[in-house]
């Protein structure tokens, strides 16, 4: 029984660490998709957030400042995306693809220009994000694995509730959902669709940047070219999985994180199954859950359609 509890604690620990980047980015993605702007640039926004977060903490010695700067860096690219998609009425997939090239390109370019290496120097523990309850639990115990982790982990879970509230209980939430369903009708009612969409896409960039910064400031402790690869796309997948709702995206990320945790513990326990096959678990499980339990998701009606104000 003890072994079981301990292993379960390890699975949860791995899940808790691998979930926040996905979750933060997925929450960002929900904002964008729900207001009618497809944002596949999430991946790029996470990467620039990861880089700026790492160098922010490196130069200031403070993980929180780095975390915030990472978010702001993501937001800058959110602005770029919003300018293209909202002001210019650009094809959102094209604009997002552009972001996915420019942002990681810029991150690596700056990294090489500043450090003449594609990695940033490793951060010391003091300039990373802090862990909770240090010294309260015995290292290796269930409590240590589950509660002794980064405080941002639990803050990101709390954020799900906050964003749920914003979406369904506030005026802004109603407007953003309306902007994603029928922008023309919104405009008739005096809602400024452009402003709502700008706000949402900026928020999505900010959250994606935070998600990226979490990777470098908690999980990895430095920026490397491979820190993000694909996590932004997984976040988008979690949003579709969760039928474009914050709570659904949360479940998607948790499912993914749990499978990841299972994979980590199985491969650490010296299982005879190839680690490559174990790595497939999250993706295969997602597909199976989709086929048997979730089914189709209704995309917000105006999603991906540029809205151009009539004169």
């Amino acid at each position: 029984m003890d072994v079981f509890v301990k292993d379960f604690g390890l699975i949860l620990n791995a899940m808790l660490i691998s979930t926040p980047p996905l979750l933060l980015a997925a929450l960002g993605s929900v904002f964008s998709e729900k207001c009618g702007v497809v944002n596949i640039g999430i991946e790029g926004m996470m990467t620039i957030g990861a880089f700026i977060g790492a160098i922010g903490a490196y130069y200031t010695g403070n993980g929180w400042i780095g975390f915030l700067l990472g978010g702001i860096a993501g937001m800058v690219f959110g602005l770029l995306h919003a300018f293209a998609c909202v002001t210019c009425g650009a094809d959102q997939t094209i604009a997002g693809t552009a972001v996915n090239f420019i942002a990681p390109g810029l991150a690596l370019f700056l990294c090489k220009a500043l450090f003449t290496s594609s990695d940033t120097p490793a951060l010391n523990t003091a300039s990373k994000l802090p862990k909770m309850f240090s010294g309260v639990f015995k290292p290796g115990s269930f409590g240590y694995n589950v509660f002794g982790t980064y405080s941002v982990v639990y803050l990101s879970f709390l954020l799900v509730a906050v964003i749920w509230f914003v979406f369904y209980k506030t005026r802004f939430g109603m407007r953003l959902r309306a902007a994603g369903e029928h922008p023309e009708a919104c405009e008739t009612l005096g809602i400024n669709v452009y402003r709502v969409r700008y706000a949402c896409v900026l928020l999505s960039g900010f959250l994606a940047g935070l998600g990226g910064a979490f990777v470098t400031l908690a999980t990895v402790s430095q920026f490397r070219p491979t820190v993000i690869v694909g996590q932004g796309f997984i976040a988008i997948a979690a949003v579709i999985f969760g039928k474009f709702t914050p709570q659904g995206a949360f479940l998607g990320c948790i499912l993914f994180g749990l499978c990841n945790g299972l994979k980590t513990v199985l491969s650490a326990s010296g299982s005879s199954v190839s680690p490559n096959l174990l790595s497939m678990i999250p993706y295969v499980v997602t597909i199976l859950v989709l086929i048997f339990f979730v089914g189709s998701a209704r995309v917000p009606a105006a999603n991906g359609k540029p809205y151009i104000k009539s004169k």
Binding site: A95, A98, I234, A297
Partner: protein, 362 residues
Amino acid sequence: MKRKFNIWEGNFIYTLLAIVIGFVVGAILLSVAGIDPSVAYGSLYEGIFGDKKYIVYSMVYAAPYILTGLSVAFSFKTGVFNIGAEGQFVVGSLAAVLVGLFVDLPPVIHPIVCMLAAAVAGAIWGGVVGLMKIKRGINEVLSYIMFNWIAYYLSNYIVISKSVKDESVEATRLVKDSARTLMSDKMVIATGCPTVNWGFVIATVCAIALWFIITKTTLGYQLRAVGLSKTASEYGGISSSKIFMSSMAISGMLAGLGGAVHTLGMTGRISQFAGQESFGFDGITVALIAGSNPIGCIFSGLFYGAMKYGGNKLTLVNAPKEVVNIIMGTIIFFIAIALLFKRIMVSVSEKKNSDVKSAKED
């Protein structure tokens, strides 16, 4: 009244302008980083056009990008976004290499069988996603992303398995010589490029065939109709699920073929991945620069391949090769927002025309 041809209405001029702006933005960044852009661009130019060998290398590099570009462009025609070309490329490479390793066939026939296997593998990888979309209504973007990663780990699993792995490197053994698509020794000597192969020719033939299918056949008509309006084409008697299925399978086939062309031509093997190789994602860029036109994909694929190949040489002048990604991204960004300029330019030039006309009438 016959309308005058207006250059500002086409897309070509904006693409050209976007490319110029891309290089300007790259130059600004390079100067900020303290690198002389003329030196960097000079080495890029030298790296692509400095020797006929380099030009041939650029073409060798371009072949897989043209094919993944075609794959994405084709899916766009039906309104599907094939973000799964990455995975289809990987399973295509795998199928080609496995047939190239374990099947004994005479030259010429062997690579053809390898490529057929790759095409079938890609078509299945894309088709399953199509099936899930039609039967269970599952959003294809989501399943494509999952299938990319499943293909990624599947490849790594097979590459390092005992019967396939090379003894000394983290890669498969080289495929049999009979399976390679390399050109004759005479061509190797003439071009100076040891991996000169038929990939570019195959990609070009595919582009032309695809152009023919899209513009001249019933299938192409149906594909475009479904892409423009699913409901209207259903009303007109086209089964949209059948069309989605064929579009996604053909799209997967092209990406799979891209994998075969790359492995049988240039590399001869698959290495263990440390990260996604991005042939499929780069196909999105190629398709976008080409405006989803199959013939355009030949040129944008060439451009992309050349930039990738030439970009490698930027390190010689200590310029980060990522500047190529920034240039590419900027180009796509300006292609995306070109619509805005187009609206302005078309309205300006039409106003000018009508001013001229009304002046004449006066």
